[in-house]
């Protein structure tokens, strides 16, 4: 569905991706692991149409992708909230922009916020939130639109274990219900395994590992031998990348 064909990208001087060719399939959850600075965010912005490749093409449903598609939703690595809007206004923003603000909207937004444990903060401004609260608002905003492809750049990294696990479960449920494609950047191997259908490891702008995920959450969280050994495998892949 979403195809990168020989995509290269360079920031001014530095080349980040070169000749990357890969496909993201429909109704699949991808976890992307990789060393800090290897190009994950850059890849996500390219795949979502926010950046234009210096070379190569990106195809979405057989069409060349030039701008972010309306069926996309993206959560940035830093929360990127509008400081002059309340939490609720921030979350409703995608609908305001698309002129699809209806009566139900605020209710739905409040429901989503409560689900993430920040329902009480709807009328606060972003500068009155803690770090983890901000990132949850950003996640809410990304989830509001029922996207077909959801791009998430380290959505849970500022959250405590309990909140994180709950949101991971919520996300898994949501994805199954709505049949989205999710491209999910994380530094947490366990998280990657819990969420993904397919796990990819990036190094220096290439994927050095792309495999189906053999396990899923129930198994992983119980720290079974299976889970531990798969985690060790991924670690060694990452270590290899690191060496």
């Amino acid at each position: 569905m979403l195809q990168l064909q020989k995509v290269s990208y360079a920031y001014e001087t530095e080349r980040i991706l070169s000749d990357l060719t890969t496909t993201f399939r429909e109704r699949t959850v991808y976890s992307i692991l990789g060393k800090s600075g290897c190009g994950k965010t850059t890849l996500l912005k390219l795949a979502s149409g926010l950046l234009t490749p210096t070379n190569g093409h990106i195809m979405y449903d057989k069409q060349s992708l030039r701008h972010p598609d309306a069926s996309f939703s993206y959560m940035f690595q830093n929360p990127n909230l509008l400081p002059w809007q309340t939490v609720l206004q921030n979350v409703c923003m995608p609908f305001v922009i698309r002129h699809r603000k209806d009566a139900m909207l605020e209710k739905r937004a409040l429901h989503l916020l409560s689900q993430m444990g920040i329902g009480a903060l709807a009328e606060r401004y972003p500068d009155e939130l803690s770090g983890g609260q901000r990132s949850r608002v950003a996640l809410c905003r990304a989830l509001m639109t029922n996207p077909r492809v959801l791009f998430l750049d380290e959505p849970f990294s500022a959250l405590d274990v309990m909140t994180k696990e709950q949101l991971q479960d919520d996300l898994v449920a949501l994805v199954q219900e709505r049949e989205m494609t999710v491209i999910f950047i994380t530094h947490d191997i366990e998280e990657a395994i819990i969420i993904a259908d397919e796990i990819r490891v990036m190094e220096a702008g290439r994927f050095i590992y792309e495999e189906q995920n053999p396990l899923r959450e129930q198994i992983v969280r119980r720290d079974t031998e299976q889970a531990l050994s798969y985690k060790r495998l991924l670690r060694s892949v990452l270590e290899g990348a690191y060496a």
Partner: protein, 248 residues
């Protein structure tokens, strides 16, 4: 409370210094604050000032409104388009660097003797700070915020209205504050040219008869007018725009 006492004391001191200075000088050059004060009070109680103040105030309001619309509009256009910026800049600098006083006959020719020419001059004088600040404010948006809006399928116009302008409000308001005061100056300069009503006309008239106390009373009116308008902008900012001053 003590603070206000201090301000007040300083004000009194200044008045006293003015008074002292006026003693050693002709009333034609620097009239005493007592004389000016009494002219000021007389002017208001007799109703002499009112039509002039009202006229000037109307010119300011109209001129400032037009200037704001143009300042914002052109600032946005020039902020959005490099081409527009390069294209319009020389003409805008011309409109500012050329003293309006020198073009009086042309203004009168084009806009008549009435209020229009004064309003036009006021607008011309006051639109530039808004333009300049708006233009720069357009460029002060974070890259990722633009990306966010692109992701949300925002049109260029929406990015403008929902991101660039709200984000630029503190910056734009600085320009507006300057413009409010320039509008006062603009209206008065406009009235220097050919008016029989308005505080500027009153200044000219007072100069013609060398009635310096009257001129100073008019200048006090102007200062009060400026302070009033500035205070109004301050109120708009504190009550209407506070959220835009928040930083994440």
């Amino acid at each position: 409370m003590r603070k206000y006492m201090f301000h007040f004391a300083f004000f009194i001191l200044l008045i006293w210094l003015w008074h002292r200075a006026s003693l050693s000088m002709s009333e034609l050059v620097l009239p005493s604050p007592l004389v000016v004060g009494s002219v000021f009070v007389d002017g208001w109680t007799s109703g002499y000032f009112w039509p002039h103040v009202s006229r000037t105030l109307r010119e300011i309001v109209y001129g400032l409104s037009i200037g704001t619309v143009f300042g914002l509009g052109l600032g946005i256009m020039m902020g959005e388009s490099r081409m527009m910026r390069q294209f319009l800049q020389p003409y805008i600098i011309m409109s500012q660097a050329v003293p309006k006083l020198a073009l009086a006959p042309l203004f009168i020719l084009w806009f008549g003797f009435g209020m229009t020419s004064k309003v036009v001059i006021t607008a011309l004088v006051c639109f530039f700070p808004i333009l300049e600040n708006t233009l720069r404010a357009m460029h002060q948006v974070k890259r990722e915020q633009i990306e966010l809006f692109k992701m949300m399928q925002a049109s260029r116009f929406q990015i403008l209205m929902r991101l660039k302008i709200p984000n630029g409000i503190p910056h734009i308001m600085s320009g507006f504050r300057v413009s409010v005061i320039l509008a006062v100056v603009g209206a008065v300069v406009g009235e220097f040219i050919g008016a029989n009503e308005g505080l500027g006309a009153l200044i000219i008239a007072s100069q013609g008869t060398m009635n310096t106390p009257l001129m100073f009373a008019v200048l006090i009116n102007l200062t009060l007018l400026g302070m009033m308008l500035y205070g109004l902008v301050h109120m708009i900012e504190t009550y209407g725009l506070r959220r835009y001053l928040r930083r994440e």
